[in-house]
């Protein structure tokens, strides 16, 4: 098994096929979308492939160290930041192909007009924890 992170972007991914912003969806469309995500996660628990999923606030702050005894420097949010992560789902699956299949299923969540959003999700493999002893 290998773990993959499915990343959903607010910004930074290519435009979705059904690219209507969420704030213009009807309440029913929003509810259907949320239900789809819940059912999807439930199915992954059932299939033994679910690890974790969280949504992130669009508001974030950049922070860095600023020397001994000084408070951290903060900055942002930067309007020009190209990439903004909206949330993630962590899955544990048998193969890379299975990870792609699940990401595609997630991307089919219904949006405006009840049609699949078909947004682009990013699939990133996690590095494993088990180092081999090469000889």
């Amino acid at each position: 098994m290998a773990k993959y992170l499915l990343l959903k972007h607010y910004r930074g991914a290519p435009a979705a096929v059904n690219d209507v912003p969420m704030d213009r969806w009807t309440p029913e469309e929003l509810a259907a979308h949320v239900q789809y995500m819940r059912d999807f996660a439930d199915r992954l628990v059932e299939s033994g492939e679910y690890v974790d999923s969280r949504a992130l606030s669009p508001e974030g702050t950049f922070v860095r160290y600023d020397g001994e005894g000084r408070p951290p420097v903060t900055d942002g949010p930067f309007a020009e930041t190209k990439d903004l992560i909206a949330g993630w789902m962590l899955i544990d699956v048998e193969s890379y192909d299975r990870a792609l299949e699940l990401a595609a299923e997630l991307s089919a969540a219904p949006g405006a007009g009840g049609e699949p959003v078909r947004e682009w999700l990013e699939v990133r493999p996690l590095l494993s924890d088990a180092p081999a002893d090469a000889e």
Partner: protein, 380 residues
């Protein structure tokens, strides 16, 4: 409470229940419940016959569940109150469980989870933690696996090769957190080796022992990976090495070579060298030839190329490497190493940095990055 006795008894008790007519999934659930009960009760009230105690409690749990199930379905319980007296040999039952849990119809991950629970006696929670997934996910993985094997006959001989693959997968997981999976894999393989005389079971056990013997030397105090050539061989566990070599020699003497024996032979040759310089690379290349013949594995070919680089010089190693698919895992790392041995530090540094970007785990990535940095410094 030391749970090792419970874990040894787990597969035996499941076997007894199945012999009495319980289905595997029901028996497995009932035995897990009896284990939890034992953990609660035994510290204050230790039983005189632990196995008998577990069988009694597990059988009662099984009957309760079967009755509840039957009444839910408005059907009559078909299970007898009094178990038929079929005391089968525990060894056969346990062996059958190994086969069932590693049944070829299961995916490797499902087989691993089921083996750890039904044969290893680990709880779902422990297995979930070892594999860093939520308990609910692991519980589903296990119950799906049980459903898949529910129709498999318990009394037929199974496929030993898949059992060995599953145990090797568990071993390679190493240890993260509370469960030492490598040690657990050794325990389960040891037990399997005591039940069968198959040469490859012995070969796998020897391989595990020889690798495990090097574990104390594999990681530096700062957590960094230490490659074989740089390991402090004084830290190797000589007792495990001696045991591994004995088991391997007995298996090889029976003259039925297999891939695990060949891999163990390579590990034994490394173990035999008091310093890295004393390594018998010519023999190691010969064993890799056997391994390639037995498996055709591209990974074996890659390792053979590196060994050839030591036996016949880096140019020979690079020539062998050039015949292999560059997309193979660790191909770039092997090329970097052989270029360094050949004295081409600039190329080696570039390849090490590239290999770091392709590394499958952080320990290797960091190691390869350090190699690149070291060579850049030397090459100036």
């Amino acid at each position: 409470m030391d749970d090792s006795l419970l874990r040894i008894l787990t597969p035996e008790v499941i076997g007894v229940l199945v012999r009495r007519g319980a289905d595997f999934a029901g028996a497995e659930d009932a035995v897990q419940e009896s284990l939890a009960e034992a953990v609660r009760v035994w510290p204050d009230d230790p039983p005189r016959d632990p196995k008998g105690w577990l069988i009694t409690v597990a059988w009662r749990r099984f009957l309760d569940a079967a009755r509840a199930d039957a009444s839910r379905r408005h059907r009559e319980a078909r299970v007898e109150e009094e178990p038929p007296p079929v005391p089968g040999p525990a060894v056969d039952d346990t062996l059958q469980l190994y086969f069932l849990c590693a049944h070829p119809s299961l995916t490797p991950a499902s087989a691993v989870a089921l083996t750890l629970r039904a044969v290893g006696g680990l709880t779902t929670r422990q297995i979930a933690r070892a594999y860093l997934v939520p308990e609910a996910t692991m519980a589903q993985r296990i119950s799906r696996a049980k459903r898949i094997v529910s129709g498999v006959r318990f009394d037929r001989p199974g496929d030993l090769a898949t059992v060995l693959r599953v145990l090797y997968l568990v071993f390679n997981e190493g240890y993260s957190g509370e469960v030492d999976l490598a040690a657990e894999a050794i325990r389960l393989t040891r037990r399997l080796a005591a039940m069968t005389r198959h040469e490859e079971v012995a070969g796998l056990l020897a391989l595990m022992l020889l690798h495990h013997a090097r574990r104390p030397a594999r990681t530096a105090a700062d957590g960094n990976l230490v490659p074989l050539a740089e390991q402090d061989r004084g830290l190797w566990d000589t007792r495990l090495i001696a045991e591994g070599v004995d088991i391997l020699q007995a298996a090889l003497a029976r003259d039925r070579l297999g891939e695990f024996q060949a891999q163990a032979a390579i590990a034994a040759l490394h173990a035999d060298a008091r310093t890295a310089e004393e390594t018998d690379w010519v023999q190691i290349v010969e064993w890799y030839d056997e391994l390639v013949r037995l498996t055709g594995s591209p990974v074996a070919r890659l390792n053979r190329a590196v060994a050839l680089g030591e036996a016949d010089g880096p140019r020979a190693g690079l020539a062998a490497l050039a015949e292999l698919d560059p997309a193979l895992p660790r191909h770039t790392a092997a090329a970097a190493y052989l270029h360094e041995r050949a004295g081409d530090l600039v190329t080696a540094a570039r390849l090490y940095a590239e290999a770091a970007g392709e590394a499958p785990n952080p320990a290797e990535r960091d190691h390869l990055t350090r190699q690149a940095a070291r060579l850049r410094e030397r090459a100036g």
